[in-house]
């Protein structure tokens, strides 16, 4: 039977190239693929474009990846937070590029990337700085702005349980960006707390069907839960 399990985080991240666009799931700690992010720091790929909701908190996870100088550009909705000092310093020193995207447009651009949609007209952002220079159109009397799809070379996904085929389920609000990001990358890598036997996930409740996922690595229960 097909088996997408890999032995460890290093094997899961094998082959990620310099210059890659990496979609990183999670919202706060919930659903953040922390083992994979930490692994990417050790793996060493640089000149990366990171697509995520935030641009790192504190000194760990994404912030550590930024601090190590591996990230050229961040595409996110909310970089500035009370503990985003690593990003803030790099940004204000002109050492990192930033593309700010409204959170719903970010999710939909990634969804479009995964769904083969070439772009979409959205009312979000119309008449604001974030729509400047973009094509607009009036449809049924309402103004919309054209947004482009986002695709990744790699997606790092934080799921709850998976099977060896690559089916995934999430836990509570840790779903967030993960299911859409899983659809939108050439190489989708999922960390899961637990791998269960094939048939062990309720097919009515599988959120990410197996075909989106290329590698599954079991990292064990997260210590903060």
């Amino acid at each position: 039977m097909l088996d997408k399990r890999v032995a460890d985080v290093a094997a899961a991240l094998d082959g990620i190239q310099d210059g890659a666009t990496v979609l990183v799931g999670g919202f706060g700690l919930a659903g953040q693929p922390i083992a994979l992010i930490d692994g990417l720091r050790e793996q060493g790929a640089k000149d990366l474009t990171i697509v995520a909701n935030n641009a790192g908190n504190g000194d760990t996870g994404l912030a550590a990846l930024l601090k190590a100088g591996q990230v050229r550009k961040v595409i996110c909705s909310f970089p500035r937070q009370v503990d985003s000092w690593v990003f803030d310093e790099l940004y204000l020193a002109g050492k990192i590029e930033l593309e700010v995207v409204p959170q719903g447009n970010l999710a939909e651009r990634i969804r479009a990337g995964g769904a083969g949609i070439g772009g979409f007209f959205t009312p979000t952002g119309v008449g604001t700085l974030l729509a400047e220079g973009k094509e607009t159109r009036v449809i049924d009397g309402r103004e919309y702005v054209l947004e482009s799809p986002i695709k990744g070379d790699v997606a790092l996904i934080g799921a709850f349980k998976g099977d060896q085929l690559g089916n995934l389920v999430y836990r509570k609000t840790s779903r967030n960006f993960n299911p859409v990001m899983a659809t939108a990358a050439t190489l989708t890598i999922a960390q899961v707390d637990e791998v269960v036997p094939v048939g062990g996930l309720d097919p009515e409740a599988i959120v990410t069907p197996a075909l989106y996922v290329d590698r599954v690595v079991e990292v064990g229960a997260r210590e903060w839960l």
């Binding site: 909705s77 959170q103 609000t173 839960l225």
Partner: protein, 209 residues
């Protein structure tokens, strides 16, 4: 007397229709949740993927996988549902939420909202879900003090800060007054310990009732 923050939250809660689906923005609007009476059957949406959000979690209830859009641990009400970010913002953008309550730097009499960016040099822009929320409910209400700390009116003829959304706000709840705003201009719906003349003096506008 002008209303306290809590009294204002209670007033907004009382105006939310029975059975409404509601998103409360980060900051002061979250106070509205404390004043929603259970028999009004209001369901709270949080954009990080939960419909049926409850109050902040305490003690053993705290679960880092169950948080709100402000990343605060919450509980979930019976009958809640989880969904991913694209679905969550589709609920919003698609007009399926009845009311959204947001904070503001400025609101114009025509309903323009500025609440994400001061536009000052060196300010790091961070929008989050603000622009999506601003255009994403059937009714978008603003909850704010009428005046900034230095006494400037947040209700203005035209916003000077970068916009979050154009013509998106329908009602502004402040500690001094409730004001309807929109394409036909502003109209004062209610005054709290303030006369219309005083309100016009504070805002520099020519509001009517």
């Amino acid at each position: 007397m002008a209303l306290t923050r809590d009294e204002l939250a209670a007033r907004i809660a009382a105006d939310i229709p029975y059975g409404a689906y509601v998103n409360l923005g980060i900051g002061a609007p979250t106070l509205v949740a404390d004043h929603l009476e259970p028999e009004r059957d209001v369901t709270l949406h949080t954009e990080n993927g939960l419909l049926g959000m409850g109050r902040a979690a305490k003690g053993d209830e705290i679960d880092p996988d169950l948080i709100n859009a402000g990343k605060i641990p919450v509980i979930a009400e019976p009958g809640h549902a989880f969904f991913h970010h694209a679905d969550s913002f589709a609920m919003m953008r698609g007009g399926h939420l009845d009311v959204c309550v947001l904070g503001a730097f400025q609101v114009s009499v025509t309903g323009d909202l500025a609440n994400w960016h001061t536009g000052e040099p060196g300010a790091i822009p961070a929008v989050g879900g603000a622009m999506d929320l601003a255009i994403g409910a059937k009714q978008v209400w603003v909850m704010t003090d009428l005046l900034t700390k230095d006494g400037t009116s947040k209700l203005v003829a035209a916003c000077s800060y970068p916009l979050t959304g154009k013509g998106c706000v329908s009602r502004v709840y402040t500690d001094r007054a409730v004001i309807e705003v929109g394409p036909n201009g502003a109209r004062v719906l209610d005054l709290f310990g303030t006369t219309l003349e005083e309100l016009n003096e504070l805002t520099g506008l020519e509001l009517t009732q």
